[in-house]
Symmetry: D2
Amino acid sequence: MKNPPSIISRAKYDFIDSSTIEKIESYHSKPILESQKIPLQDPYTLNGQKLRLNFIRQQLKTNVDYLAGDKIFDDNESLKGNIENYIGMSQIPTGIIGPLVINGSNAQGIFYVPMATTEGTLLASYSRGAKACRESGAITVITLQEGLQRTPTFKFKNLIDLGKFVSWVLEHKETFATITRESSNYAILNDVGINIEGNILIIKFEYTSGDASGQNMTTICTDKICKYIVANCPVEPVFWTIEGNTSGDKKATSLTKRVRGRKITAEITLLKEVVQSVLKTTPQLLYRQWRINVSGAVKCGSIGTGMHPANAIAALFIACGQDVACTGEASTAITRIEIDDNGDLYCAITMPNIIVGTVGGGTSFPTQKECLQLIDCYGPGKSGKLAEIAIALCLTGEISIMAAMSAGQFTAAHQKFGR
Amino acid sequence: MKNPPSIISRAKYDFIDSSTIEKIESYHSKPILESQKIPLQDPYTLNGQKLRLNFIRQQLKTNVDYLAGDKIFDDNESLKGNIENYIGMSQIPTGIIGPLVINGSNAQGIFYVPMATTEGTLLASYSRGAKACRESGAITVITLQEGLQRTPTFKFKNLIDLGKFVSWVLEHKETFATITRESSNYAILNDVGINIEGNILIIKFEYTSGDASGQNMTTICTDKICKYIVANCPVEPVFWTIEGNTSGDKKATSLTKRVRGRKITAEITLLKEVVQSVLKTTPQLLYRQWRINVSGAVKCGSIGTGMHPANAIAALFIACGQDVACTGEASTAITRIEIDDNGDLYCAITMPNIIVGTVGGGTSFPTQKECLQLIDCYGPGKSGKLAEIAIALCLTGEISIMAAMSAGQFTAAHQKFGR
Amino acid sequence: MKNPPSIISRAKYDFIDSSTIEKIESYHSKPILESQKIPLQDPYTLNGQKLRLNFIRQQLKTNVDYLAGDKIFDDNESLKGNIENYIGMSQIPTGIIGPLVINGSNAQGIFYVPMATTEGTLLASYSRGAKACRESGAITVITLQEGLQRTPTFKFKNLIDLGKFVSWVLEHKETFATITRESSNYAILNDVGINIEGNILIIKFEYTSGDASGQNMTTICTDKICKYIVANCPVEPVFWTIEGNTSGDKKATSLTKRVRGRKITAEITLLKEVVQSVLKTTPQLLYRQWRINVSGAVKCGSIGTGMHPANAIAALFIACGQDVACTGEASTAITRIEIDDNGDLYCAITMPNIIVGTVGGGTSFPTQKECLQLIDCYGPGKSGKLAEIAIALCLTGEISIMAAMSAGQFTAAHQKFGR
Amino acid sequence: MKNPPSIISRAKYDFIDSSTIEKIESYHSKPILESQKIPLQDPYTLNGQKLRLNFIRQQLKTNVDYLAGDKIFDDNESLKGNIENYIGMSQIPTGIIGPLVINGSNAQGIFYVPMATTEGTLLASYSRGAKACRESGAITVITLQEGLQRTPTFKFKNLIDLGKFVSWVLEHKETFATITRESSNYAILNDVGINIEGNILIIKFEYTSGDASGQNMTTICTDKICKYIVANCPVEPVFWTIEGNTSGDKKATSLTKRVRGRKITAEITLLKEVVQSVLKTTPQLLYRQWRINVSGAVKCGSIGTGMHPANAIAALFIACGQDVACTGEASTAITRIEIDDNGDLYCAITMPNIIVGTVGGGTSFPTQKECLQLIDCYGPGKSGKLAEIAIALCLTGEISIMAAMSAGQFTAAHQKFGR
């Protein structure tokens, strides 16, 4: 997982390579056996919980002792680097949905996905979406781009100074790549972008960050690069800062900005029989709901056309030790539905800012580690898989909520499961 | 807290009444005593945790047994309405910051605010912001508007049918208010808005929802109203749905949309001495950082000019049983800084979508209840207070991060506290 | 056309009244006679031009002497109020398209619409769109809202001062209505909106402006109101300005802002035979093009989903003496297409910012007056009609360009007609 | 001006080369002589007009016979490619402002800029802005990027097909460059960008277009490329179109989209004495107005922070035969103001979409040609200059309007000059 030699010339646009196509074409999902279904009995008793925990232990062969409450966290030393002024552990109810069948460029197979939430109906709805998908085949998922930015910003006396500074900077790209390599074992500098507005210069340093979500790593590398620049460039800025608020960190920003973390797309064609048997609606009604939705998204000035990917993102991020403050940016999505020539329902979602990590951050805390292990996403080499599970989960949620709304079941479901 | 008679004619714009002005003018913050400071010793040992838990128990006289791990959740019955497919509890490290001194229209006094996160530096940074604020006085906070929407959408054969339908609907506003009263003890229908685009009609039903965050309550009322309309109106839509994706639920949408939950504004003038002693920067540098930030926000197409209110919102929402999937919408903010005639630093933040509840949702779970009680925000009559604490917390974070960036401490802090 | 008594309580949302429905239901378009068709012979000769001028003189009984070059402008006195540093007249090639058949709340009948442009293909394309529409019936057009804003902005020492100021302002609404009446014979003050962000207060004064486009009129009234406020309110702002850049003047702004000038919607159902015979495509292909377009609009961050309404707006505005600098705001549109149960094509466009006038501004200059008279839109009582003709024109253009693109004719047409 | 060998590897970001810096550093503006000032006497008489026409003929040595009305257009043959259904010439009052002193990468020297408008006050205001700028030095203008896009869009059965298609496309970039060279003497293909969303593929073909504005040229080249792809690629799309509505043609789109036409930045530092003597305000007041404006722009969801660049763009485009329908996109701007250490006023504007041409389109019509010649911008090799004059003009307008508003003169000016 350590970084290869740096080459500042990677794909700056979406890309699908031929080995990905082959991998996806050669996958065939098997039917789900009865033994692979999550036991749903006794939803609100200790016994029901135990049934599901046993299912996990036996079916998935992973530990859930901390989630189950059998072990209690007391390793306060491990808090270093993750929190200050610690008083204890907030506890969020957590369940699993699935199996979710994914045929992805990184995630391939069946997954039981943990979600932490206090919103009733949520897991029921995602479970239903996952069922509709797996009864129609597998969700195809392809990662299109990867990149994380810091955007330090420099201000000059005037455009002349700025112009000289930019020229110097662009001649030192390779030095910045070297500084990056020396500062981090994982970060790779892939792009150095220039954005000029009057006497303000924004330099976009774009990295990949191995299997960490990467915000700290890229900050540290960028800081070193900036300090090198300021110390060595003959032209002096009148002010500079490590971040000029254009990186999109912790907030939704323009769709045209391209990528933050990973840009991924996912699709499935739902069989019309399944739309009726599982989702209790028709392709036509679901399609009508989507058309209303996309038109609504335009009217209210939302970024993208997603309905509620934030529910999946927040619940998955809490369970799996991800940065929950990234919910806004990570849930940016374009959701799309069409009826194909067979009368089946083509459903797709594309998300440009799926920012996750499987090392560092909150991934090593007890329940977080257990949740990551549930989906085989703990540790090095797994972040691409986690990101693809995240988008597949979002797609099931988009399908299920629109199905419910199209058929008038939405309110009834919330009256049944919610409070 | 039960609903008063419904009047569909409330303020549709921001408003500050004179009693609020009086309340705020008459408040005088007292100096913080040594005994009121959070013990920060032994940050990463069981002993340090215990010191802080004792401080809470003695200073704040509230229970923290579940947070401390002294009691274990086993009341699975209580999960009904909050989660399905339950397997256990995800545990998120939680700390407190403060005291945060607030002079608000709903929250007035000093507060120790719980935050659940795995991002190192976060609580240290918010603590520093809170300190800079309290050494400069109190954060003024005023709630400007309140309202929660459902936006059912109807499609017609053509504009003629739509026009007849709209006329009928507008003649039945009082009936809708009555249906609302009969459907909920808390919801009040305050506005019925019409948005027409070709043969698509969006009706915005806007409510207040007592002390619940209100998404379910308003869905149920709106569903009943819509069913009444469809059953009684002589003109039939060709399709309708409870939500046409314009309410802004679970996503950031246009700032001009006005309010979702509560629109609140907060301000403080930081003394220049405090900027230097606590924030280790100067008013001039901090102001320069903000100018860069606002200009960056415009350039990257973000909604508003906030830097990272999502950090405060996510950490507070996890700790306090709020809907974390609302992080995107709730963290929408306009952050602003100026230097006043004395050379002090005027700092303000305005947030239109602070959506919180102190009853229902996840508020009654053990650690959530304990966290809410820490800030005296558990139960009826407290949601306005919780919302104002949330924005004050966001303001301290905006100040602290910009201070760090302006003085080049940001990266160093993350290297010290983060991983 | 003079102003009625002022009532600050008009519809703040879209509205269709029953008399509008009746008017539109009772209209029946007659077939277009051969004699009503524009002579298209000799497109690029003096003779062809003469044929078309004669058609106008005989069919429409209006003067076109200045357009024809038979009379030359020399009334320099009349330039006062419209331009400084005058050197002469820029001349823009102008043609007519039509007949355009409209069944609107203000415009009803057939119209030959003047367009001034140097872009080849444009009039040919709009002509084709108009033909497809009239062979399918009439374009239904309904005006939904009217209003023009100035948004003076006030800054205060702090929120306390701002709050006292707002209270005072809201108590003096009726005085502002009186000042408006005294300052203008046409302006009516319909709404006073409050928007607070920290110590900044934006007051939105919303007017109707009779048949003038109204920017000057509303500026003058608002200035008088502001001066009254500042002279009389006991609380003093530290700074104030007549416009804080939120009115949307001369630029596209968020769709959720509601209305600027007039918000109008238009629809037509194109018969599938006509789609094939006139537009040389199929409903299915045209619908596919639109789906791609709306998805493209979302991806590139455009405001609304229009394709090129700006072409119609700019060409009509130049010809008719409107404010061409408003092209950006006025061409904001939501374009929508669907296939109905008969396989016909439902097409709609909704435009919130159609800002036009038929008195004042550039309407009285010689060719501008002639162009306005061509569509019976010169002088008092005609602005509502002009606005509805504008949107109907835009709709024909949206249809025609998408038809061309869907069938691969777009480039060929530009190669034939363009340079 | 013919195209050099095509290299698909140009700067994809802003750039300032060292020869530009040298050119700008070596320029020194001379004081404006009395004889260089536009005669302003007799504003609304034939005599005054004649004085100004003589000034142009003698000072600038260019023809203005058509503008003056001394010659009448009758070359109907020349209309081919520019308009259909021609009936005559719309006439727009036109004046000149200046001298405008520019120190640019393409435009260097003093310019008298023609503007066609019927909005009183406009030329007076731009004149004042130009005066304030020239009394403070020259406006520095630097072109940062150039590019024009067509964004054909392809839809596939599924992601697998799309992936194979993309691979094929990316292997044929050089072929596309060859097709471009064969299809146009001027177009150069500089970039081929890929954007994937589910089964929809948008390919961005980005060109430079010599001195034409280039919309037609790039359409024709892209059409040929697409037809080549569809004829030769083994994978077939289910639908494709020459434009998927993401190129930003005729509408304002996200600032992050980078460039359309030319991205240019301009700056000037206004001396504080000049702010007072010419603009009748103070640096402090003007700066306060700007802060209010930028904050207002954010609040109303406008793209960028410009106040009214559309006024300059529309008036210049009408006079100079540009595509007026591009007013929305071309006037997108970031306007910024700051007070520097001397108390002088730094003013900058950055505009990413200045789309102009000096050959083709409407540039050869009589008055258009005269207006272009007024600023030495007619014919090959001049489009870069015209674009820089456009932005400099916009900057003077931003300064003047904000000055007026900051000092409360705005309304009075409109009462004096407007109607």
